[in-house]
Point group: C2
Chain length 410, copies 2
């Protein structure tokens, strides 16, 4: 019964997750069950829905999901249930469920790409699975072997990929959302003893090329997204809800996202829920070098984005002769100064939802930074990086980051 | 059909909420409906459950709720639905619901007290209703008139109070949990266009007198609960889930709660999810004055607790000749120093769940602060404040803070 959802990438799925527990520390004799994708059961829908075109699927105020989802429940004593692929539908939660009160929740976002060669690919799903483990343990949800999560993600796309992302939709994608929530129906601030993992696949609009580029408004002085000692590096719900107020305010003023600054120095951290990059030339006195700059991971303020990581790797491998790749704290003041001095070359946001999205303007406390767009698109380095990534995602370039889904026969 | 759920307190329900929108700014002609408790509909359970005794109700890992709950849904276009009192049961949420991903959620906690005079009372429910509005708008959920929320809370207790908190259980309480969640089934980091308010009533264990007092462990240096510019003052889920990891660690070490410190100075903020108080004598060089000290509200790091506020008010009214009431930033270093110099008199945590709970020990980076307990209870001021509060809650003292629920005839 099990479909052949196999990792066919030449890249071995990482077998280590630094400093994170892969299991919950139970011994072999206990009744505790680990998450095990090989046990996945299949209950297919008897009522497959019509597959909408991409535009109409993204026009409404509800996300259109595919026919199926995968779920697995967890209990602190018995461990992980047998994962199930089953018809997509509502979840039943008690009003006292932990997730509804204490934000015991985390998620991942990745896309499945229908390649120009007809194949269906995920992009570095091992990175998402490992980060989900990191997020889960940060928010006191259970541990699991991330390879099992990766296999479940592949299994969902093996079933719903062929019909929902058909071979004639080359260059299109679906959005995958693994989510883990605390379900224990008990009030009181405590780590949940029960949880539910679910994975959905859905349509999502293309957001990587807004007309005129992405326009950013820096965060208000009295609002901070994440802080040292907090959880800005984890993909937990608690990072998102509190950010909406500033985003709404920025949108009212005609901006797309908030550029989140940190501390009295005004360090640049994230653009909306994406990582933020600038390309500038250092002052002549410092050598006039071209640099691709983004915030560092070591203070744990920002998300260790898969797109961010890939952009940095590609830039180091393929642009080393043209620019330096720099991960360091840098301030909005430095960006302003570079702009005034004509040294700010390009800027973009990078993440799964926004992919590589050119930034055309930043408003900061009365000052406007304009960043030139070329023919309505980003500058040459932004475009190069974006095209390289796209080629890997859609199979124009065979690369270990593109993991082919072995699709279930229809 | 509507029961007489009427505020019979002599205290007028506050008609102003500073700087907060009471409605969503729609004009009278729009189809938008405000939350309106007078429209409440009643669907009674046909299967009332046996009411357990308090001890067995609190023994398990699930919260036992009463027979009914109140729900009202909200849509950005049509506004608030007619609120419904209906049988308690599970909620149905789409896997893409905002609350499950982005922590668009907030809640309140208050208790209903069966008085020694047989009456059923809430304690300052207007304060909870107003804070819920503050939390809701902070987390980009809808506004409402807090008086309507207060009326709905009273209505639930009017129906379930007589059977679930019967007149022969004098001195007992039920726990009320109004909750508001974002339900819009759309992925993407945005303010939800749909939401659900629900109010439950349940059993909750008594936590105000743990054997030997509450033992606190200060927060790890690399973990911060809330920060200036954050949302520590709002009762949103995002404040709780991320705190669980440190709490679990503290419990493994034999402590009950975390004393959350802030900044390199180590300012004392909250004890677990409660406000934190110390009573000390200032050094002789500073007059040797007796002070009740707690963290201030102005930097928005801590919750504006109803118990905190009431303790401060009672202390100012009734203990003014004995001690000074001080709201200011103070550090763990000052507490340590007071302890070493024999000037630390008492300490307690204050909140709805823990009521006024004596603190007997604080562990801070290798040092132990011991705070004397008297006959296993808190010191004289802790006990005085607690007893005054209890007398108001349970009707031994007639006070405007005690709001009598006019119970529905059985």
């Amino acid at each position: 019964m099990a479909p052949a959802a196999v990792v066919t990438s030449s890249e071995p799925v990482s077998t280590t997750v630094d400093k994170l527990p892969l299991s919950n520390g139970h011994d072999a004799k206990s009744q505790y069950q680990e998450l095990d994708a090989s046990k996945l059961t299949y209950t297919f829908t008897t009522n497959p829905r019509p597959v909408p075109d991409e535009e109409s699927a993204c026009a409404g105020t509800e996300t259109i999901c595919t026919d199926h989802m995968i779920t697995a429940s967890w209990d602190i004593v018995t461990g992980w249930s047998t994962p199930e692929l089953r018809p997509y539908g509502p979840l039943s939660l008690m009003p006292t469920a932990s997730v509804l009160h204490y934000a015991t929740e985390c998620f991942e976002g990745l896309k499945a790409y229908r390649g120009y060669d007809g194949k269906l690919r995920l992009f570095r799903p091992d990175c998402n699975a490992r980060r989900m483990l990191l997020s889960s343990t940060r928010i006191s949800l259970p541990a699991f072997d991330p390879r099992e999560l990766e296999r479940l993600i592949l299994a969902l796309m093996a079933v719903d990929g062929p019909r929902w992302l058909p071979r004639d939709r080359k260059g299109s994608f679906l959005y995958l959302r693994p989510t883990l929530i605390g379900t224990q129906p008990q009030l009181g601030v405590q780590a949940p003893r029960q949880a539910l993992l679910f994975i959905t696949a859905s349509f999502m609009p293309r957001m990587d090329a807004p007309p005129g580029g992405m326009r950013l408004h820096t965060s208000p002085e009295d609002m901070v997204r994440a802080w040292v000692g907090g959880f800005g590096y984890a993909k937990v719900g608690a990072n998102y809800g509190p950010s909406l107020l500033a985003t709404q305010e920025a949108r009212k003023r005609g901006f797309g996202q908030v550029l989140w600054l940190y501390g009295p120095e005004g360090y640049c951290t994230e653009a909306g829920a994406s990582n933020f990059f600038v390309i500038w030339r250092t002052p002549a006195s410092e050598g006039g070098r071209l640099q691709l700059v983004t915030a560092p991971l070591d203070d744990k303020l920002i998300l260790d984005g898969v797109t961010r990581r890939s952009v940095l790797q590609l830039a180091r491998e393929r642009l080393a002769e043209e620019l330096d790749v720099v991960e360091r704290r840098y301030t909005i003041g430095e960006v302003l100064k570079a702009s005034r001095e004509g040294r700010l070359i390009e800027s973009f946001a990078a993440g799964t939802a926004y992919f590589v999205c050119p930034v055309s303007a930043i408003h900061h406390r009365g000052e406007d930074i304009e960043i030139p767009m070329i023919k309505g698109e980003g500058g040459q380095y932004t475009s190069k990086l974006k095209n390289w990534m796209r080629d890997i995602m859609y199979g124009n370039e065979q690369h270990e980051w593109g993991v082919v889904v072995e699709e279930r026969e229809q």
